[in-house]
């Protein structure tokens, strides 16, 4: 889709500088116009990390650099970054200005590479793609230009139980921190060791160095990030297990974990399968104890609960939440809106995944990043019963117009503060339930 976009739900390619910010002690260096960093910070909010936001070095392109090129300015900024900031990895990301004037960024970063600096460069001009796409480009650039330098100490597929996980896009998924930690806990429960690569519970750049050692990769995503696992498959011969939507609640989390067990067995991982299945059983047990307690409320609360939902989110959340809400809370998914600019080649599969949610009902789905258009469609719907909208801050206004309940769960949103909450897994499903019904109960005053 390349038409106009109303109410953007993602950033441009340089938004993937947040992928760098999510790596402990790494810093992006922006070779871009002066406003790019502030725009990105304003989109993600509370996203400074170690050296993002106001701390990130930036060449702040002016007329001079547009006319004469910005390579010299970049060199000086990088040189002084080493003096001023104490960081483990520097990733130069470029803006529209640098890419249109055609600065040779690689030749500048090469000078620092020759001095042994851990520096990486990647093209992220805003007009080239969006942050869903360029997240993969940033990760692949770090793999090629940084991780690969440590290949001798990290023989390919040398650790049978180690896996690299690629799932939430840092910051674009507001629940990325919590989700990654929960994936790690669940996969460790099966007996695996896991590189999550981002966030405070990852091991920073030294964890990145061990990427080649992993036996296989896990991709939890409808489409974004597949470029990474394909790249690793080609580069290090690591196969990947692909789960195409977010496993939220018991049904899908168990399906995900059992899928991982089967895949791991195929790859010759020495797993104690009995122990792994016991782990799943215990998690399910704890989960259903809560659902059991909750069921009476869902069935009997006489003052009104939502019976249908519209979700405006990326494909992973739309499919994952639809499956969860229908089967595990009884809220029926009506028109759904995938606003992540899904590449054409994935649309059929995602539609099929959503369709498989129910064999007795159709769930209409729209693929369009123009969320303003999505809102106009919702404005015209007329379903009986109390409605729920799960989306970004923009949708709060729509929910008010429709007199629907609203849960803020996607970006951008000034109406909700998320720190380490997770939405995936058994506990994530319970949290979604808490969030929805807290919002509903809050309306009773």
């Amino acid at each position: 889709m390349s038409g106009l976009i109303e109410q953007e739900r993602y950033a441009c390619a340089i938004g993937a500088l947040q992928t760098v910010v999510a790596i402990p002690r790494a810093t992006p260096i922006l070779h871009s116009g002066p406003g790019c960093g502030t725009m990105i910070a304003g989109f993600f909010e509370r996203s400074t990390g170690y050296a993002g936001g106001n701390t990130s070095p930036c060449t702040n392109f002016s007329e001079t650099e547009v006319v004469f090129g910005g390579a010299n300015r970049l060199r000086s900024i990088i040189e002084n970054t080493y003096k001023v900031l104490d960081t483990d990895l520097q990733v130069v990301v470029t803006g529209c200005t640098a890419d249109i004037v055609g600065d040779d960024v690689a030749s500048v970063t090469d000078e620092f590479l020759d001095e042994g600096k851990p520096i990486v460069h990647v093209e992220t001009a805003g007009f080239k793609s969006n942050n869903f796409v360029s997240h993969s480009n940033v990760v692949n650039a770090i793999i090629d230009q940084y991780v690969d330098k440590y290949i001798e100490e990290n023989p390919v597929r040398s650790e049978k139980k180690l896996v690299n996980l690629f799932a939430s896009i840092p910051y674009q998924d507001p629940f990325w921190k919590g989700n990654l930690v929960e994936y790690k806990r669940l996969l460790e429960g099966l007996g695996l060791e896991v590189n999550i690569l981002f966030g405070p519970f990852s091991g920073g750049v030294s964890e990145w160095q061990t990427i080649p050692r992993a036996n296989f990769n896990i991709l939890v995503s409808p489409w974004y990030g597949e470029k990474i696992t394909k790249h690793l498959e080609k580069k290090y011969g690591q196969p990947y297990y692909h789960f195409r939507y977010l496993p939220i609640g018991a049904n899908e989390t168990t399906r995900f974990l059992k899928g991982v067990i089967d895949f791991a067995k195929e790859q010759g991982v020495p797993l104690d399968e009995e122990k792994a299945l016991k782990f799943i059983e215990r998690e399910e047990h704890a989960y259903y104890e809560e659902i059991d307690n909750l069921a009476t409320f869902l069935l009997e609360f006489r003052y009104g609960l939502p019976n249908h939902v519209h979700i405006l989110h990326d494909a992973g959340y739309v499919v994952g939440l639809s499956k969860f809400l229908l089967h595990e809370t009884g809220i029926v998914p009506k028109e759904q809106f995938i606003v992540d600019n899904t590449p054409k080649e994935y649309i059929e599969q995602i539609s099929a995944d959503l369709k498989s949610t129910s064999d007795k009902r159709e769930i209409p789905v729209y693929f369009d990043p123009d969320a303003g258009k999505a809102q106009d469609i919702i404005r015209k719907t007329n379903h009986s019963g109390r409605g729920l909208i799960i989306g970004s801050g923009w949708d709060k206004e729509l929910a008010k117009e429709k007199n629907y309940d609203f849960l803020s769960a996607s970006l951008p949103t000034p109406y909700r503060l998320v720190l380490t909450t997770n939405y995936i897994g058994y506990t994530g499903g319970l949290r979604v339930i808490e969030d929805i019904y807290d919002t509903v109960l809050y309306t009773y005053k």
Binding site: S2, G3, L4, I5, E6, Q7, E8, Y10, C12, A13, G15, R25, T27, L30, G33, P34, G35, C36, G37, T38, M39, I40, A41, G42, F43, Y50, A51, G53, N54, T55, P57, C58, T59, N60, F61, S62, E63, V66, S76, I77, N80, T81, K83, V84, L85, D86, C96, T97, I100, V101, A125, G126, F127, G372, D376, G393, W394, E397, L398, P414
Partner: protein, 492 residues
């Protein structure tokens, strides 16, 4: 007499560096800066290390997105408008301060420029977007904000908007605010106002008892003041409408919450549409409050009423101000803010008996579009309260701020820009950011601020705890260097 800086005949506004001779690098005493400004010898300095700044396009959005019946199109890749959702929040949350009971959804669009558009041009895409926005949102006015990419590829945005204006029969205003054009992001305010002044404001056919207030979205203090003299505030441009903008020429005069914000619009109204501009810096601190009200009195021909008002204000607030001065005497503060609000904050804290250990102000305009030294807030502050040492012009460069705060450890940090209080707090320094720029105005503003400062100094448990656990990405080497090590060139 210098020639006017306002020229509404060109589509683009002239950037501040050229129009006003504004700078972003200086270090010394405030008085030196004032002297250099006044004799036209201001030279800029450059930094060989820099961090993310901010750009004009967001400021242009700031003065257009909040117009009630407007739609705003960012002509660029999606990234150039990603933070505009913040204005949708602001619009809803502050609506009742302007009597807007049903704040409507903000209409914000991106033409979503792709790589092929940078090769073949984005003009057709812009045309289609304008038509679609017109159909979808039915706005009374459409603003088109330009971006770096659109600027460099050379799309003729002015022609497109002029053509579509005729086709759709509503004003369509091109606003040229490419980020790379200016190091001073407040140029974006000027760009927005330039568009409004050249395309929307109409010559007055009559006068009304209203006073234009160029401001953001602060509390409604101006009506409290103006009604006493028989006038109503016409707030520009947030929460205005196409109609109220068109008729802003009917006001008896224009005042501004901050000269850096309001300069271009107030002077356009004055020089082109004959609405006198109240030139004095805004009313922060006693001396400046008196000057400001007296100039207002002259403009309204209400000199006696103003004197009466000031007398009442003094009687009402001076005892309380004196009490606050007693409590705040000898406390030190550091200020980081934009010009000229930062200058006003410096006046305010000195009025309350405190001392500034220094200031980092985002840029410096030696003169405003009014071409009047009455508008020189820093000069007033230095004149009224004495010189300020360690005065720096620094465009939000966190590394310099961190270095300075680490050295000077003031009792309190005053900030006026998101993100800047963090480093005060990390050093255990109580830090205060007042979002409402009208909060400190007038006599009551001194009381408001004084009480807030006392509360901030008193409630330091959070920052003291944060200090113990603060994450610091800056090197030991850097914290031991002179803070302006990377600031080079220019002459004082």
């Amino acid at each position: 007499m210098a020639t006017s800086t306002i020229n509404l005949n060109t589509p683009e506004v002239s950037v501040r560096e050229i129009r006003l001779g504004s700078i972003t690098g200086f270090h010394g005493n405030a008085s030196e800066l004032v002297d250099c400004s006044q004799c036209g010898k201001l030279k800029d300095k450059k930094r060989s290390f820099s961090q993310c700044l901010g750009c004009s396009t967001a400021q242009a959005a700031c003065v257009t997105c909040l117009i009630q019946d407007a739609a705003v199109i960012s002509h660029g890749p999606v990234g150039c408008s990603t933070c505009l959702h913040e204005f949708a929040f602001t619009y809803r949350v502050n609506a009742d301060l302007r009597g807007v009971n049903n704040p409507t959804q903000r209409k914000v669009y991106s033409t979503n420029l792709q790589e092929k558009d940078t090769i073949y041009g984005g003009a057709v895409k812009l045309e289609n977007t304008i038509r679609e926005v017109y159909k979808r949102a039915n706005p009374n006015v459409i603003f088109v904000l330009t971006t770096c990419a659109a600027g460099i590829i050379g799309d003729d945005v002015e022609s497109v908007t002029n053509r579509l204006e005729k086709e759709l029969n509503i004003p369509i205003v091109a606003i040229f605010c490419e980020g790379f054009r200016s190091k001073i992001w407040t140029t974006g305010f000027d760009a927005g106002y330039h568009g409004i002044a050249r395309k929307l404001i109409k010559p007055a056919e009559k006068k009304r008892n209203v006073i234009n207030v160029v401001n953001f979205w602060g509390s409604d203090i101006f009506n409290e003041w103006f009604r006493r003299f028989g006038y109503e505030a016409n707030y520009l441009t947030p929460y205005s409408t196409l109609e109220s903008l068109q008729h802003s020429s009917e006001a008896v005069c224009t005042v501004q919450a901050c000269a850096t914000l309001g300069s271009y619009l107030a002077s356009s109204l004055d020089q082109v549409y004959g609405v006198p501009e109240l030139k004095n810096s805004p009313p922060y601190g006693i001396a400046q409050t008196d000057r400001w009200f007296r100039e207002l009195g002259q403009l309204l021909h209400k000199e006696e009423e103003v004197e009466e008002f000031l007398k009442e204000q003094k009687e009402k607030y001076l005892p309380k101000i004196e009490e606050l001065r007693e409590k705040l005497k000898g406390k030190t503060a550091y200020v980081t803010a934009g010009a000229s609000h930062g200058h006003s904050l410096l006046a305010l804290l000195h009025e309350l008996g405190m001392t500034a250990t220094g200031a980092a102000i985002f840029h410096h305009d030696p003169i405003y579009d009014s071409n009047s030294s009455d508008a020189d807030t820093l000069a007033h502050t230095v004149h009224d309260y004495g010189d300020i040492k360690n005065y720096t012009v620094c465009n939000k460069q966190e590394f310099e701020l961190v270095n300075v705060l680490n050295r000077t450890r003031p009792d309190i940090l005053f900030a006026r820009h998101g993100g800047m209080t963090l480093w005060g707090a990390k050093f255990g320094i109580p830090s205060l950011l007042i979002g409402d720029e009208h909060f400190g105005m007038g006599y009551e503003g001194l009381v408001n601020y004084g009480e807030q400062i006392l509360a901030t100094l008193e409630n330091d448990e959070f920052v003291k705890n944060l200090e113990k656990h603060a994450i610091n990405p800056y090197t030991k080497w850097w914290l031991e260097q002179e803070p302006y090590t990377f600031l080079k060139g220019g002459k004082k």
